[in-house]
């Protein structure tokens, strides 16, 4: 296709959009709503995941050793644990360190009364951090079976609940977004079908003159793609401005949760959201019009 033909095709696509304004607007509105919701879900999900991830990285299983264990065996165990897939980090905490931490956390100045005795003499342990909280039970089972480990403490776990909630939110939003996409494609296809029926005569003449199927069809595909692009761009702009406001609001209203609410900057979200949304918009536009063009323009 020549550049001049491309330009002409593009102009015809634009013209068609303006020719049936009402349908074009309705289509853009639906795609916008669809992409807007997608953007919101996406932002929430990514932030949620970020928060869960942060919470996860703080979850540790603690493994205490048998009283008569040798230093060599402790090292062996450490190595064995760190090769496991669900383990992200293994930290050795000596009895002295455990006692010091405990003193700092709970006793403060009263600690002096213990003198040089270490009441936690048997409390040397491994703190084992997980890459995936869901695997915690499995890890605990394993640790209990290891020779030389006396006791295993699970951490209390908010992260586990968060992870479950995260999955639920993902599924529900995916379902909603899927429905919205279906509606958008349906609307695009209607808009294009109207464009085709308005231009029936013109199409017939084009075919008689010897226009290829490609030339006959492309204005309609371009119409769909343009509608999809506009429908994707508008909500992105909206989300950009809403995002920081929303975060500000949440931070203010739920200041208590400040320590666990780790929000991502809008730029980081947009790095992935913009391409995804644009591709979705173009995809919806292309699919909707391609379906209709196939059905109505069997040349």
């Amino acid at each position: 296709m020549r550049i001049s033909t491309l330009g002409y095709t593009f102009k015809q696509g634009l013209k068609s959009i303006f020719r049936n304004k009402v349908f074009s607007l309705a289509t853009i509105a639906t795609i916008s709503a669809c992409i807007f919701l997608f953007g919101i879900f996406y932002s929430v999900m990514v932030n949620f995941q970020n928060i869960v991830h942060q919470a996860e990285s703080g979850v540790a299983v603690t493994a205490f050793f048998d009283n008569d264990i040798t230093d060599q065996r402790i090292q062996e165990i450490g190595q064995e644990i760190s090769t496991r897939a669900e383990v992200s980090k293994v930290v050795y905490v000596s009895a002295e360190q455990a006692w010091n931490d405990f003193k700092d956390d709970y006793l403060g100045e009263y600690a002096d009364s213990f003198g040089d005795d270490n009441p936690l003499a048997d409390s040397a342990n491994y703190e084992i951090y997980l890459s995936d909280v869901a695997m915690q039970d499995q890890l605990v089972d394993f640790l209990t079976s290891v020779q030389g480990i006396r006791e295993v403490h699970k951490s209390a776990n908010a992260a586990n609940t968060l992870a479950t909630a995260n999955n639920l939110v993902s599924y529900v939003s995916l379902a909603i977004i899927f429905i919205l996409f279906a509606v958008s494609i349906f609307l695009i296809s209607n808009t294009v079908a109207i464009g085709i029926s308005v231009r029936r005569e013109e199409i017939a003449i084009m075919k008689l003159i010897g226009a290829t199927d490609f030339v006959v069809r492309s204005p309609f595909l371009i119409e769909g793609i343009i509608l999809g692009l506009i429908g994707a761009a508008l909500p992105l702009v909206a989300i950009y401005f809403i995002y920081n406001k929303a975060i500000g609001y949440v931070m203010q209203e739920f200041a208590v949760l400040d320590s666990i609410l780790a929000f991502l900057p809008v730029e980081q979200i947009f790095n992935t959201l913009v391409p995804i949304a644009l591709i979705l918009g173009v995809g919806i536009g292309f699919l909707g019009s391609a379906m209709t063009v196939r059905r109505h323009l069997r040349v």
Binding site: M206, K207, L208, G210
Partner: protein
């Protein structure tokens, strides 16, 4: 140039519209096709344009076997054929220039060349001045001349006209016929379907008469044959 061998066309309902047509038209000929309403003239044009496929028989145009033409090759084939109809079929939302340029745009002629060709062909049909007018601002004769300009701008070797003067008064009809004759003189093979006895009898061209889907007469320098 145009060769038909025992062509039959039956629409899904009813008797055959064409029932065994054989004919041979040489390059550069000017041929009238006449016959009663419903005798199958437009069906013949549609077969030549490959809008329809024959039920049986063979059609060869410009060395192309139209009956065996694959779908993807149809556009290229049609670029060999210009066509005008009784109802002009212009794009109402575009001016004269755009209507004619359209024929070149859809087959990807470079813009520079279109700008050169359109005024040239418009002056051939005598409409150079009216290039900015919309179809509704033109008389029937002028509209048909625009359609004619559109049909010949791509310089097809064959021109088909299905009752081109059916909606025109005698004076405009004659102007169109003169144009068709001129186009023919420049080498284009011209096939004209018409009901106009005066024109056929005055022009002394080859006349093929069709009746109920068969050719009943084919004469050089023929006359319009009355229905009995």
């Amino acid at each position: 140039m145009i060769l038909l061998e025992d062509v039959v066309k039956t629409y899904s309902s009813g008797a055959p519209a064409l029932n065994g047509i054989s004919l041979n038209i040489e390059a550069g000929e000017f041929v009238f096709i006449v016959g009663d309403s419903g005798s199958g003239k437009s069906t013949l044009i549609k077969l030549l344009l490959r809008e329809l496929k024959p039920t049986s028989g063979r059609i060869i145009v410009n060395n192309t076997d139209v009956t065996k033409l694959r779908h993807g090759r149809v556009p290229k084939y049609r670029r060999n054929i210009g066509v005008v109809f009784q109802d002009f079929r212009l794009l109402k939302d575009r001016n004269v220039y755009e209507n004619v340029a359209f024929a070149q745009r859809v087959i990807s002629v470079p813009g520079r060349q279109i700008k050169k060709n359109v005024p040239q062909v418009l002056s051939t049909v005598g409409l150079a001045e009216k290039y900015k007018s919309r179809p509704r601002e033109l008389s029937g004769g002028e509209q048909q001349r625009v359609a004619l300009a559109r049909a010949i701008i791509n310089k097809p070797p064959i021109l088909l006209a299905d009752e081109p003067t059916g909606n025109l008064d005698p004076r405009n009809s004659w102007e169109i016929m003169k144009l068709l004759e001129e186009i023919n003189k420049n080498g284009t093979t011209v096939l004209v379907v018409t009901h106009s006895r005066e024109i056929v009898n005055a022009m002394h061209k080859r006349v093929i008469t069709v009746k109920k889907g068969v050719i009943v007469s084919d004469q050089e320098e023929g006359e319009y044959i009355d229905e009995d």
